[in-house]
Amino acid sequence: MIKIRSPRDIGTAALLFLLGAIGLWFGQDYSFGTTARMGPGYMPMALSGGLVLFALAIGFNGLTMDGPPIEAMKLRPILLVLGAIIAFALLIRPAGLLPTTFLVVLLCGFATPDVRWKEAFILAFALALFVVAVFVYGLNQTISVFGE
């Protein structure tokens, strides 16, 4: 029975293996060349191969040597912060800077359990006005205020 003894190593190995495998799979399409005349596939294949080897070595460590556990992950901060970033990406063009800022600040404000409703609203509103003043009018960035 295989037992995970160092969960952090197993996690690292899984990430590296994924990256290396993607690299190897798609890297085949690019011409490899020779060492004297390296093709566009030479370095990517070499690096991806290396990553898979690293993944195996670190994974082996994870099964044979005891290591510290993975710290508890709190879902609230990571989900809300990532959600706020994705919301920014989806809204900034159609809605424009002012509404996007307001919503993004409000959304990410809830990433902490200490959130205070009134304060979060005031902050979102103030920041929305502030960034429009600074970035659009102050620094002359070409970002539209109310969408395209």
Binding site: G23, T35, M43, S48, N61, I92, V104, I143
Partner: protein, 501 residues
Amino acid sequence: MDLFQNLYTGFAAALSLQNLLFCLVGCLLGTLIGVLPGIGPVATIAMLLPATYGMPPLASLIMLAGIYYGAQYGGSTTSILVNMPGEVSSVVTCIDGYQMARQGRAGAALAVSALGSLFAGCVGTLLVAAFAPALGAMSEKFTSVEYFSLMALGLTSAVVLAQGSLLKAFAMIFAGLLLGLVGTDVNTGTARYVFGVSELFDGIGFLPVVMGLFGINEVINNLEQPEDRQVVAAKIDRLWLTKEEFKQAWPASVRGTLLGSVLGILPGGGVVLASFASYVFEKRYAKDPSRFGKGAIEGVAGPESANNSAAQTSFIPLLTLGIPSNVVMALMMGALIIHGITPGAAVMDKRPDLFWGLVASMWIGNVMLVIINLPMIGVWVKLLTVPYRVLFPCILLFSLIGIFAVGSSTTDILFTALFALVGYLLLKFGCEPGPLVLAFILGPLMEENLRRSMVLSRGDPMIFVARPISAFLLACGVGLMALVLLPQFKKTREEAFVEGA
């Protein structure tokens, strides 16, 4: 003498009203983010990169540099008064600085860290002025072979200096190099790992990677920790040192400065390592090590001098060889490239005002910073009362707008989210993202130089040891690795990191 002629050119450029103003802005911002925990120079410089588009190159360099070394001054304030590092490079200052504050010697601790930083900053600036031209002249002999070996050395030392497992740090280098290769291959025009995303033809954006792995990741990580900040010394009297304290502090400050200067030049080194190393050194060689941890002034003077001198000298590799030694320098490189300037020795010849102006501004900035930090300390302490729940939405928002303003691409924003997630997982798995980012930046350069070297030698890898400079650089790398694997040094390395944790 040439040096004075050059410094004159530099001061003439740096003392213009506009450049003085940007220097002040940089130093103020640097102190601000240094004092505030949870936002570092990497995130701030990345956020301000878009704003430097419209500025003259020298002014933007001066401002960004000011943020970097200004943060080294500000970081100590929080460490001493709140027992919480404002910057990672001030982690060790917490140990003795906070104890000093609890004993009512906050004023002395603040004064010694500011004066030590000033001394170190001046020495560091002089070193840049003295050594950069020599190194630059040497780099003219460099071919692709030497450049490749130099970058290999840089990445090796990044591995050695990273926290935690060496195997993982090496794996991070490979991952970074591979991610750096995404995009159109310059030699053949082949699009690699693009998956039909048009933005990826130019490669994965630098800002999304850095902001995701560092800036946003830092925010998420801080949100997971409960907020607990208490300013100890409400009133700081006597911002000065007694004769006794001065006598204890100055040798530590000199030692820290020298140590920091050397570690700053090292590729992959920088401010964090410098302050850790200095603290370990002071403690080990003190007559009475038991005083450390209980308010020993050397434990503040040494590391605070070390981190500032390292901040200055870490500019040397970028300005002379065109190779960034850490993430902040990589951002500076980005700022130069935005203005169409390729960093390297050529800058010194073609734009002496740029190089020497920056050097001169560092000296001016260090003097400004002592004034900003000592008499104005009360203002910065007030800032510490701003709660993180107000601060982090601002950080997040400015980062996103910054990234969007540079690339005008929502794909970049989505990549930021992806790399924030990756950075979060890496942190949980005990991998440091620093080496990954450095490798990501060096990836395309390394591939290009490796290819050229191989064409030159017709595929014979022995060329890297056949050329003396290249062989020397590689030998340094091998030596570093061997050193880390020695049981004795291995212990010290682990100790140094534990000390700060």
